[in-house]
């Protein structure tokens, strides 16, 4: 419910209806931990909106991604993961992934330097390959504390 009105408004702007499953999925995404898989989200849904199908979860996530509200990424295991994307650069982060147990850690270190390099690379690449670059990912792979 908190912030619900803003979402509702952003949905309306895009000619999308504001429904219970969508509200609840957004709520789960905003309050629960990051990096949730479709199935995890589906499982978290039962309390607030029982009967919601896994199909709807996938469809909603696809919509949210298309509207730019959610970022989808792959952490190496066979399933996609989803996280709400914040507004400003304070939310900009990347992932540190344990290739053995799948643990994911967000990091925001060196964002300034990163953005500088990324911007430079992005400009050069965009020009060189005539690409319109919309996003980027940086991830580190390795073994976590417990798995090393």
């Amino acid at each position: 419910m908190p912030g619900g009105h803003q979402w509702r408004h952003r949905f309306r702007e895009n000619a999308c209806r504001w429904t219970m499953p969508r509200e609840v999925i957004l709520d789960v995404l905003s309050r629960a931990s990051r990096h949730m898989s479709a199935k995890e989200i589906y499982a978290s849904l039962y309390a607030a909106c029982p009967g919601t199908g896994l199909t709807t979860v996938y469809r909603t996530l696809e919509l949210l991604q298309r509207l730019g509200f959610v970022r989808k990424f792959d952490a190496g295991d066979g399933q996609s993961r989803y996280e709400l994307r914040g507004e400003g650069t304070q939310d900009h982060h990347h992932h540190l992934i344990c290739t053995r147990c799948g643990k994911i850690i967000d990091f925001r270190d060196f964002i300034e330097e990163e953005l500088e390099l990324v911007k430079k690379t992005e400009d050069a690449l965009a020009k060189k390959h005539n690409f319109q670059i919309l996003d980027h990912n940086i991830e580190f792979l390795g073994l976590c504390d417990k798995c090393r």
Copy 2:
């Protein structure tokens, strides 16, 4: 056949047998384009080694990845892609991916700056989270020439 002896030797060192499917898969990987999916590799195999099963392709790729000869990555469509990893830093590269048509472009620009930043970040992250970092990926997502 060219370079086959080196591979054979590297396999032996790891107590792995040197078989026809493995030789042919390595050959395909080394001569064909990068970013091949399992099915593409499988399709390229017929001429040199008909009868090779898709299962064997997957198993071989898994082995090659485990031995560190091949890098597996995900380009956003539902399938994994594989590429031979070269030795030195001259082979170090990353990907520019078109999210609409799936086109993948390698880039090596700004590798020096990148490695510097990456090294710094890596050290800090490794210490901070007690992670043993083994690899990293940087990818840019956007629309290619034809799709924009």
